[in-house]
Amino acid sequence: MAHVRLDGIAHSYSGGAAEADWALKTLDHDWRDGGAYALLGPSGCGKTTLLNVISGLIIPTRGRILFDGKDVTALPTEARNIAQVFQFPVIYDTMTVYDNLAFPLRNRGFPGPEIDRLVRQVAGMLDLADDIGRRARNLSADAKQKISLGRGLVRPDVAAILFDEPLTVIDPHMKWKLRRKLKEIHEQYRLTLVYVTHDQNEALTFADTIVVMHEGRILQVGSPQALFERPQHTFVGYFIGSPGMNLIDCRLDGETARIGEAAIPLAGALKGAAGTAPSGALRLGIRPEFLTLHDAQGPGRVEVAIRTVEDLGNYRIVTALLGDTALKIKLDEEAPIPADRAWLAFPPGRTLLYHDDRLIEASP
């Protein structure tokens, strides 16, 4: 187990120095010992590159990587005590489940009885004990993926286990079982786990801490709740949640944000912060879940025109026009929807302001 530190890591595959050549743009980050992390972002954001930097499959162009304070930047994969689970199950076809699990230990010269004890322990934990004598190639995709994981878990010295979209080929109904298994293993072993995915569901379910990446940068590091409630960057607001956050161009006018003619009141703490913001693009952000729809005028409410209502069974998504801006509002299936004229309220505590895509922090 180890604490993993990234110190000014940057990587360019082409070796070019232009901004666009850097797949990773100067990252500093600490992976706490025993933390369950997810690296979340759309394809091409650099998350797999970063994972390969940690595992040692890529030597970064710049920066250092430290395991428990020891510089391992130049060390090859096999010397780093990490394990990795890939997108597609990697198993040794000709071996049995037992031999697959024993393989990393045999390569490292563990004594036979020790190997047997560790292999049986891990097989039991992964519910593979019944299949231990079977050929690995004859098992289902989820069992194979468990073997890949098992080859990491079986090593008593393993510092961190890395996952590269490990559930891609797993049947939907098996996915949640495997997620649960991962959670259990984390609770029991307290290993440092880093999980790369583009799927918010997997990231948020698996991890205590999510690292959101976009275009080679880390945009936010935080708990699932923080990403949902206080996205630090407009991209995080858009990417997390379905539908994503409403983001509306606005300007400041005293203690309110103005969208066209409509005035949106801001939370007390935000007023001061917003007043000091330098010039630049201002956007107001609010989650569809937090907007409320009313059939009468009231303080702080703005009139909107309802365009479409999508019935999704348990809830409905209303698309409403505020001036030219379309807003999504998520309503409970039993909440009334005004027939003709509707007013929208922005709860001040939930209404966030972004300056050049960055959240303006309200000083309390």
Binding site: I82, Y92, T94, F103, P104, R108, R135, G152
Partner: protein
């Protein structure tokens, strides 16, 4: 699947039927026809049943040729398959070297069989051939026209030089199809180069190696042109393989009946061994341990 029926589709299949009939079925039936009859002339034939087959199976010269043939094909497989795999393993995986190596390796495959024979005759001649002169200069006394062993060595060299590239190309294609994740996982598991070969590369090459073994077995079992050009099956009968013997019976002695019976046996042997190889290679490392 219940496809849409359209009888015009038969026109698309027709050419294949015609070609297969002309190239395989009709000649084969002719051979079957010859193998059970004694033919003295047009309209003058006698049904002889299995007589030719019994005759042929009891022929000592043929038995010798058969064992010679098995030895030859066995050696070919034992040398070419490991050698081809080794070459494939050392070939570059990316960069300009890939296409350069591929062209170099493929060169022998582009040369016609009889030309190969001619090249090697000259190459190994003790008086003017580069190889022959050098080996003789070393005091080894090499002469493929006089020594059966030297004739064998020459035929083997020819065969290996000509066909190992095919095995290498197939093995290379198999190696390239292995996803990078396997190598990465193996590094993480601390596997040695040997373990990577034994547990990843070899199992993943099984499909292409099966094809390589089948092709090389069939081809080497039917070898004709090279020994024929080199020594005409000699010295003595030392390089008289099955097909050379067959031609001697059929063309040299014009014994069409025995030759036809022999052809059928020959065909069945090839078929049987291909099937055995295929079954064996398919079942290696599959299925659960009993």
């Amino acid at each position: 699947m219940n496809k849409i029926q359209d009888n015009r589709a038969w026109f698309l299949v027709m050419p294949v039927f015609v070609i297969v009939a002309m190239s395989a079925i009709i000649p084969l039936m002719t051979v079957v026809n010859y193998s059970v009859q004694d033919i003295f002339g047009p309209g003058n034939r006698v049904f002889v049943g299995a007589e030719w087959f019994i005759d042929v199976l009891g022929d000592r010269r043929l038995q010798e040729a058969l064992w010679r043939q098995f030895l030859f094909s066995g050696l070919v497989l034992l040398i070419e398959i490991p050698l081809g795999v080794m070459i494939a393993l050392t070939m570059p995986k990316r960069g300009w070297g890939v296409s350069a190596t591929l062209v170099l390796i493929a060169l022998p495959l582009l040369i016609p069989w009889n030309v190969i024979g001619t090249i090697w005759i000259i190459f190994t001649r003790p008086d003017i051939g580069l190889f022959g002169v050098i080996v003789n200069a070393l005091g080894l006394g090499f002469d493929h026209t006089a020594s059966p062993l030297d004739a064998w060595v020459t035929v083997m060299l020819m065969e290996v030089w000509h066909w190992t590239p095919l095995v290498a190309l197939l093995a290379y294609a198999g190696l390239r199809a292995i996803p990078d994740a396997y190598y990465q996982a193996a590094r993480i598991d601390g596997a040695s180069a040997w373990a990577i070969f034994r547990y990843i590369q070899l199992p993943k090459m099984r499909g292409v190696l099966t094809i390589a073994v089948l092709l090389r077995f069939m081809d080497s079992f039917l070898i004709y042109a090279e020994p024929f050009v080199l020594t005409g099956g000699g010295p003595g009968n030392s390089t008289t393989f099955l097909s050379i013997h067959l031609v001697k019976i059929a063309v040299g002695q014009f014994d069409l009946g025995p030759a036809a019976a022999f052809s059928l046996i020959y065909f069945l042997i090839v078929l049987l061994f291909c099937w055995l190889f295929y079954q064996a290679l398919q079942s290696v490392g599959t299925g659960d341990r009993a």
